[in-house]
Amino acid sequence: MEKSAYKGVFVFVEQRKGIIQNVSLELMGKARDLADALNDKVYAILVGNKITDKAQMLIAHGADVVVCADAPELDDYLTEPYTQAIYHIVNEYKPSILMLGATTIGRDLGPRLSARLGTGLTADCTKLEISEEKELLMTRPAFGGNLMATIVCKEHRPQMSTVRAGVMRKLPADNSPKGEVIKIEIPFKKDKFRVKLLKSVKEKGAMVDISEAKILISCGRGMANDEGLKIIDDLAKTLKAQVSASRAVVDAGLVPHDRQVGQTGKTVRPDLYFAVGISGAIQHLAGMEESDFIVAINRDKTAPIFQVADLGIVGDAKQILKQLNERLNG
């Protein structure tokens, strides 16, 4: 493989019903960093049905070029049409790097595509950087978050990775840069479309995306009762924060699963993270340690959470939060 023929940092832009997903904008932010380090360009791959008008938004978030495949075959996500589209684009443009969100779409499309391309794919990366040899260093957790591994894809291109929502930072929208939008026709092989979508159902219930929250107050085992949750809810209202929780609290049924932080829940990086009554199992730390500022309150001064906290308080979380709320309202 002639590696030098492969150029550009490409992001597969995920849209659902025409709505660009945040994870893709976060990836664009990272792609900008990587492209700058390589003195290269950021390409957004935008595929869907009647979605060309979204290209400008991608340019505002860091893309130099938007490669757009707009076709009725790409209306809803299905593995095969999307794989054919991205495979065609990769063969036309020969990306050096291709990133996808580690969502139920990216984790279905990514491996299928990597096998068709015969290249490597590194899942759920938490850190991406460029080495001195201009290669992509992809760092990810393994063994349930107990170990970190940095992966390279030396001899194959594109270097593919998926990244979970909330791990990278999106750039603030800037409408001044001029980007290029290229429309591309996909020569579909429709006889390979063998899976039919009967229906797509959104489930009821207030969906809260804690990975979008600026402030999170996270409830651990030490606060996992009605009184503790009430105190947390009250403070959350005052601070306009969202409530999240550790796995133990979610498993106990006290907080819904979509609010779980950690390896098996969500990765969050709010401006402020309160860890209340959370001891800090490694699986939990994996999901929150990138937060800007971490305040931990726990009775046990040996709790591992204090190792990642910017401010640690040893004490009774109920009392402290109650008083804090009173003073904020007072």
């Binding site: 139920t104 990597s114 490597g120 063994f143 170990l147 940095t150 971490i294 308080i313 904020l328």
Partner: protein
């Protein structure tokens, strides 16, 4: 109806601890288990055996001791077990692993291929879809429920972030199953007794249909550049003070950060 289930023997990662002095994994005494998503996949296959008299083959790739998970699958009720093991497979990343498994699967006749969504030691969720691609079969990942019409059509509930999708596909196809989808049955006592007299077929490179260059370390596009235990961020200040003083400290920090 023939079903093949791919399973993996994994260390129970919830039992793994880090040696705080050396920063290395403590794997001694950590039990090996059938990967949870794969075990749900086994249950899906066995429930189709109950309803449609399907023949269930289980296959695993791994070192010789991976035979244990095949015996466990026998005790749950599978009909045939294959251990894919060869020095040529060593050092495989997900792509090379999927090539080896696809090579074995080309030798088997099936209507449905079941894998777990992902394994708890790697969490990549890649091998199932990669096998599907090598075999040119349709795939449905994140399976939460499957209905079979008794002929050739599967109706599948696929779990996604904010709901689910209902998908339809004819066999042969590949599905990847979520651990919560099917509660695995227990091994029966007679099953456990019989499991040890049943034949586990050992297959190596010679028994499968694959290009040798796609296997093992040589067939792996990705390499581990380095592995390390999670670096501990340097801890901030720790205060052991009464609650009034604690509140004061928090308030001043929040002001400093322009949060209040």
């Amino acid at each position: 109806m023939n079903i093949v289930v791919c399973i993996k023997q994994v260390p129970d990662t919830t039992e793994i601890k880090i040696n705080p002095v050396t920063g290395t994994l403590i794997r001694d005494g950590v039990p090996s288990i059938i990967n949870p998503d794969d075990k749900a996949g086994l249950e899906l296959a066995l429930s189709l055996k109950d309803s449609f008299n399907a023949h269930v083959t289980v296959i695993t790739m791994g070192p010789p001791q991976a035979e244990d998970v095949l015996r466990e699958a026998y005790a749950m009720g599978v009909d045939r077990a294959i251990l894919l093991t060869d020095a040529k497979f060593a050092g495989a990343d997900t792509l090379a692993t999927s090539h080896a498994l696809a090579g074995a699967l080309r030798k088997l006749d099936f209507d449905l291929l079941v894998t777990g969504r992902q394994a708890i030691d790697g969490d990549t969720a890649q091998v199932g879809p990669q096998i599907a691609e090598h075999l040119d079969l349709p795939q449905v990942s994140y399976l939460e429920h499957l209905d079979f019409d008794g002929k050739k059509t599967f109706t599948i509930k696929r779990r996604i972030e904010d709901g689910y999708e209902m998908l339809q596909v004819d066999g042969p196809c590949v599905v990847t199953v979520l651990s919560g989808a099917y509660r695995p049955r227990y091994m029966s006592v007679s099953g456990i007794v019989e499991a040890y007299s049943k034949n586990v077929e050992i297959w190596g490179f010679a028994q499968i249909d694959v290009d040798e260059k796609d296997l093992g370390l040589n067939g792996s596009p990705t390499r581990v550049h380095k592995a390390f235990s999670r670096g501990v961020k340097s801890a901030g200040q720790l205060y052991e003070v009464d609650s009034t003083e604690a509140v004061g400290i928090i308030m001043s920090k929040l002001k400093e950060k322009f949060i209040i």
